[in-house]
């Protein structure tokens, strides 16, 4: 809340000597922002009281009243430019709060709804033969681990090797083409990646081939460009000094790359890979199409449909059983689990980059 009034402006000497007058001009007292906010809140409270609205109109009208109040007061005391500045500050701060509201609401909702079924059974049981209450997402968690794991196994070598090519070898038309198409790939909608995997497997293994591996292929299409981009950035910031130092020792190029460049960039690359995993682990659409869904545990990615957390959550919501509530609870708990996985991956990525950041700076 305090952010609304963030400018504790040292309003002393920024004003230019406007022509003739003295340098000293009127300034609002230090408590001006807080005071105006309080007054705006009280006034807004009164208005909302009279009209009988809820919390949102109260907050909105407080913001509007504050902006009008503080800029008017400032215009009277400090002049037009300062007033506009204060009004804009109020606008920026309220925009921030306005944007924060839904985002906080998302997190709170997922946690509060998801905790109902966040229990041992959820993590140890599959949905095999479950009607109504009980059951769990063990099969889906395993499926998510398998598909994401396979996707990582495919994406990291390809992505990293491409990044090495782009940074260490590529100069000509080929490298420009690859750079361009990696950018294009970054923009592929996830559902299109799913369709691609479906089409590929339909052509190679016959129509309707839907399994965990197809899902992993779809995820790879989404993951490879992210890995290429982040690894490329990391390889680029390895100083040329180091490459030269190694070359000057009489080292062949591939060894310079493997023994000097990659170790120097390894923290950044792992951070990038972890974030890439976080990006695809929550994907739903491609898996819905390429991997399908099932209530039983399937450890074999090469045969039969496989449940994954995100698709599990979707189907529990989209085609609930009777009664509806146990299904919806499972959907929310699956969503919560997914969000926790993503958060943990992000935290891991962040710790990697903090822990292995080059020690003493230059």
């Amino acid at each position: 809340m305090s952010t609304t009034t963030s400018p504790p402006t040292p309003t002393e000497s920024v004003e230019p000597p406007n022509g003739t007058k003295s340098l000293v001009r009127g300034t609002l007292p230090r408590w001006a922002s807080w005071g105006a906010l309080g007054a705006a809140a009280v006034l807004a409270g009164l208005i909302v009281r009279l009209l009988g609205f809820g919390v949102t109109p109260f907050v909105l009208s407080t913001a509007v009243l504050y902006a009008i109040g503080i800029s008017g007061w400032s215009r009277w005391v400090e002049g037009g430019r300062k007033a506009t500045d204060r009004a804009f500050t109020a606008l920026v701060a309220s925009a921030f709060l306005l944007a924060l509201t839904p985002l906080v609401s998302v997190v709170v909702t997922v946690i509060s709804r998801g905790l109902d079924r966040f229990d041992g059974q959820f993590f140890t049981y599959s949905m095999r033969g479950v009607v109504g209450d009980g059951g769990g997402a063990y099969h889906a968690i395993m499926g998510t681990l398998i598909t994401s794991g396979l996707a990582t196994l495919m994406s990291v070598p390809i992505g990293l090797a491409t990044a090495i090519y782009l940074v260490e070898y590529g100069h000509g038309r080929l490298s420009r083409a690859i750079t361009f198409f990696v950018d294009v790939m970054t923009g592929i909608p996830s559902i299109v990646a799913g369709l691609f995997a479906y089409a590929l497997f339909a052509l190679v293994f016959g129509p309707g081939t839907v399994n965990g591996f197809a899902g992993a292929v779809a995820l790879s299409v989404l993951m490879i460009p992210i890995v290429v981009r982040s690894s490329e950035e990391m390889l680029k910031i390895v100083p040329d000094d180091l490459r030269e130092a190694a070359f000057a020792l009489g080292t062949p190029k591939w060894k310079v790359i493997v023994r000097v460049v990659l170790p120097t960039a390894v923290a950044g690359i792992s951070t990038g890979v972890t974030l890439a995993i976080a990006r695809v682990v929550g994907e739903t659409a491609p898996l819905l199409i390429a991997t399908g869904a099932t209530g039983s545990t399937n450890f074999n990615p090469f045969s039969g449909q496989m449940a994954t957390l995100s698709v599990f959550s979707y189907y529990e919501y989209a085609s609930p059983g009777v009664p509806v509530d146990p299904s919806l609870d499972r959907a929310w708990t699956a969503a919560l689990t997914l969000m926790l996985i993503v958060m943990v991956l992000n935290l891991v990525a962040r710790s990697i980059s903090l822990l292995f950041a080059p020690k003493a700076g230059r």
């Binding site: 100069h171 100083p239 000094d241 180091l242 490459r243 030269e244 130092a245 190694a246 070359f247 000057a248 020792l249 009489g250 080292t251 062949p252 190029k253 060894k255 310079v256 023994r259 000097v260 170790p263 120097t264 390894v266 080059p358 020690k359 003493a360 230059r362």
Partner: protein, 259 residues
């Protein structure tokens, strides 16, 4: 170890642009040869051509001969990687490998060159190289600490130790003291005086006092104008160059009238 290098009619090009024209000189073994000249005159480019480092820039190429030990370093089939094992290099900015400890930095050249060395052998080479670089006493208690924790001057001497650990014949130094404070510069200059007992040293420097202090021979590079190639004006024993140079351009540069 120390080798003599004969350079004959060396031209260096970047694409179609000729950066250095027709340099011929003999670099004496067991001596320090300093290359001086105004900025952009091609002396660093020339230095890097001596161990083929300039080839890291894709469009760079060379005409002429660099003969060391009866072998032309630019002969067809000559492997630049091997050339660099024999002609080591120290750079302007100290550049220890940040992921490696002091010890690993010195051993890096050995290990990168695929030597299956026993630990005792490596220990020996590391100590010898660090002693050779006058650094041993300062770092012997923290060999396992990262090299980036050292001071600038220590880092530069670490880089010298790393370069001499692979036992090169020639040591190229590209303005090795320009990023260092006076005290560290002094330490590195002392080191050069010792190293020339065993190595052929070529150093590029902007600092004429330094050239006068450390070198036995001095070569002066100049450039006729922007867009023109740099060329070697003259090379002679250092006292001669600094007292009675043959060319007026050399005299003007040394006395500070331009450059």
């Amino acid at each position: 170890m120390a080798k003599r290098i004969d350079v004959k009619d060396l031209d260096i090009y970047y694409g179609s642009f000729r950066a250095v024209r027709s340099v011929s000189m003999t670099i004496q073994p067991r001596a320090v040869t300093a290359l001086i000249g105004p900025s952009g005159c091609g002396k660093s480019t020339y230095l890097r051509a001596l161990n083929r480092m300039h080839e890291l820039i894709p469009s760079a190429r060379v005409e002429g001969k660099v003969v060391m030990d009866d072998q032309d370093l630019y002969a067809p089939g000559m492997d630049p990687v091997d050339v660099r094992k024999h002609v080591g290099m120290v750079f302007q900015r100290p550049n220890p490998f940040p992921t490696m400890s002091i010890y690993d930095n010195v051993a890096a050249g050995l290990r990168l060159n695929n030597k299956r060395l026993r630990k005792s052998e490596t220990d020996e080479v590391v100590e010898e190289s660090l002693r050779g670089a006058n650094l041993w006493e300062e770092v012997k208690d923290r060999l396992r600490k990262p090299g980036s924790g050292l001071s600038g001057g220590q880092q530069q001497r670490l880089c010298i130790a790393r370069a001499i650990a692979v036992r090169p014949d020639v040591l190229l130094m590209d303005e090795p003291c320009s990023a260092l404070d006076p005290i560290s510069t002094h330490a590195v200059e002392d080191l050069m005086a010792q190293l020339k007992e065993n190595y052929t040293i070529v150093i590029v420097t902007h600092n004429m006092q330094q050239a006068a202090r450390v070198s036995n021979y001095t070569g002066f590079f100049n450039i006729a104008g922007t867009g023109q190639p740099g060329e070697l004006v003259e090379i002679d024993e250092t006292p001669t160059i600094f007292s009675t140079p043959t060319h007026t351009a050399t005299e003007e540069y040394i006395s500070g009238r331009f450059g």
